[in-house]
Amino acid sequence: MATNKVPRDFKVVVDHEICRRCQRCVRGCGFDALVFEGRVKEHPTNQCVACGYCMAVCPEAAIAVTENPMAYRHHGAWTPALRRSTLKQALTGGVLLTGMGNELDYEMVFDHLLLDACQVTNPSIDPLREPMELRTYLGRKPDQVEVEQDEKGQPRLKTDIPPQVKLETPITFAPMSYGSISLNAQKSLALAAKECGIMWATGEGGLHQDLYEYADRACVQVASGRFGVHSEYLKRAAAIEIKIGQGAKPGIGGHLPGEKVPLQVSEARMVPIGTDCLSPAPHHDIYSIEDLRQLIYALKEAVDYSKPVGVKIAAVHNVAAIASGIVRAGADILYLDGFRGGTGAAPTIIRDHVGIPIELAIAAVDDRLREEGIRNHCSLIAAGSIRSSADLAKIIALGADAVAIGTAALIAMGCHVCQRCYTGNCSWGITTQRPELTRRLDPMVRAEMVANLVRAWTEELKEILGALGVNAVESLRGSRERLRAVGLTKETMDVLGVKQAGV
């Protein structure tokens, strides 16, 4: 019934004077939101999601997507988003889904932190002329180094150093499974990781054979559905990660609909074609911390203790205590995903209202691990809205060893943050398995763009370190003295361990 339609969020405006009617926009739209009836028109029911693909392919710049200005009359409390979801739920009776990270206007702690720089007494360092070291090793470190003398009286290392993953810059790619994203998208990340000397991550989708050659830079995931986990998968990897939770949907499992499980995805995941892939909310063999310990050591055994085994959790209220338990359970890397972290699909209500900011989580966890004297026992990866090299520098100063970027990497390969990943219709060929869409994404081209982003952030981080007068990233790591706060409450500054600007 026409009266029950959900108003359109966006309007597609075509300048028919200059449109040459080539229909690239119509064919290009993954959401079938356009039709051609002598001229380009909006589809009567399919709605534009503002993914921007039509604008990108129009040779005449004749098409524009704008917000629908009077979709909803203004109301201070009942925002358009609330009314839209209320109406959708009235029509469907269901849980509303979304993609990407939290879109609500919560205070962004990063934007209230400022970095320090040298003046006079300690010279700043020019990274174009002087060495500037960002190399980072992820993995468990011993508490101290022991040295012995060899027969010639020369010092030799006596301490065993557990396995590490070497990163040339403290950036990794966030786990995004094959299934949630296309093989071409995952390959772009793998290529970029190889190019930049960093790590990418499989997510819970197994490892497609085409990507075996990039597996030595991959963190392979073992999640609650156990999809695609086999001996070779573990042995080829750089590191292994047990996924407990995700910032976008703490406490919530995953559901890859059967429509997104064609032959190749089914092979990688080791499930029949067209099967729904359900990742349970908890691991059904992990009901407490001691069970996690067993899985950590089962995986270490499986690879003969040759690579680090990490645990990924969502940042939730009691994150510091949980983190301590995980480190004591034997995790070599702890991946913390803040409440702004992205997803391929999550209930909107969970994405937007559960979890805590990564800035506070990292600060609390770093503090706790130091208090307990176990900070060296694991590396911390921070994720969930690392938007720029400034965020990267700030979260390292708060205590992270490295970051993981998901959304930023996807934006680098074309994503326009339309938040419709869960539909499988991504016009950009990223979060879809439709062959006519995925073939648009050329891994060589997109990998270069992603690698460029990593290189740009790396150079910027070097500039920041140079301005700070240090020439190795470990001298910024956890050095909260180099941060000051503007406009934060005393309580927030206490959690962050950061002083007010001017003090």
Binding site: C118, V120, T121, N122, P123, I125, E130, P131, E133, R135, Y137, K141, P142, D143, Q144, V145, E146, V147, Q149, D150, G153, Q154, P155, R156, L157, T159, I161, Q164, R370, E371, G373, R375, N376, A397, L468, G469, V470, N471, A472, E474, S475, L476, R477, G478, S479, R480, E481, R482
Partner: protein, 360 residues
Amino acid sequence: MMHRRRQKCSGETIMKSIALLHDRSNGLGGGFAAYGIYPELPDHYALHIMAYSDVAQRRTQEYVQQHLLVEKAEPIPTRAHPGVVDPPLLWRYFVLPRPADLPEGADEADVMIRHVMTINETIEGAFVFSSGRNMGAFKAVGYAEDVGRFYRLDEYEGWTWIAHGRFPTNTPGWWGGAHPFTLLDWAVIHNGEISSYGINKRYLEGFGYKCTLLTDTEVMAYLLDLLVRKHGLPMEIAADALAAPFWKVIDRAPEHQQELLRALRLVYGPALVNGPFAIIFGHSRGMVGFNDRIKLRPMVAAEHGDVLYIASEESAIREICPSPDRVWTPKAGEPVVGWLEGEGQPQAAAAGTQVAASTA
């Protein structure tokens, strides 16, 4: 300066040397450390304590008498000097830990450090500025040569002397903030700024050290204490951790050196001291000096007979030793290690230094 065969000289020599570097300081801090000056009580810890009030002085005295065995307590002898004004109350105590504090297996040094940290932290207005055996630190607000006169250093005889004139920028110029900073027999003087102070401090706090002196230099003393005394690393290896060689140097090193240097960087990343510095450590077994990783501060070394000199400027050395046998400028991060006779390891250089030399 250090005499390898423990031949002593008075404080006159070092005062003459530091006076030449007058313009490198601004009168807001000067200090000395001397080794071998208390031969009459060489095995007692000599606590030099400054107190800014009678109350602080009384509480300190009570603390010391209650928790330590006091052999001797006296005011530190001084003479009035126009360049050194408003001195706090300056006392010294020659003490030993109480046997009850030393159960089987307890480390005497740890016990003493705990007492020093407790006084510094809990008694307002009181600071232990020297706590070693057969050594002492002397410091004040003023030019170093004036501070030396004030403390009557011409009347002491020692085999190792270090001196410092301060030009404070980051932290207030106060008596406790002058160099050297000490922890038991460690005495550290420092020209520079530790840009990694934030993480160095947090790292040390994890090992129970408390940074209370409002300045970045004290972390140097604590880091060395941690690495050398607690973790048992040779001095040269500790220097490789604090002023680590660059990765590009490590990557080209022979396999076994790579392993060691990489391990040092992995484990002691938070102890890496970053920022410009030249630093000299005195200790009961010798003296060591080194620069930051890219030598952003001057440091020159010289040898003459049995005497090792390290200074910011060659002129300061030639002022007291006009024609040394050898003068050299150590490379960035390369430690100059001097051992007193019968002490130390014979090995030549730190692993990192060897690598740098072999790949230069």
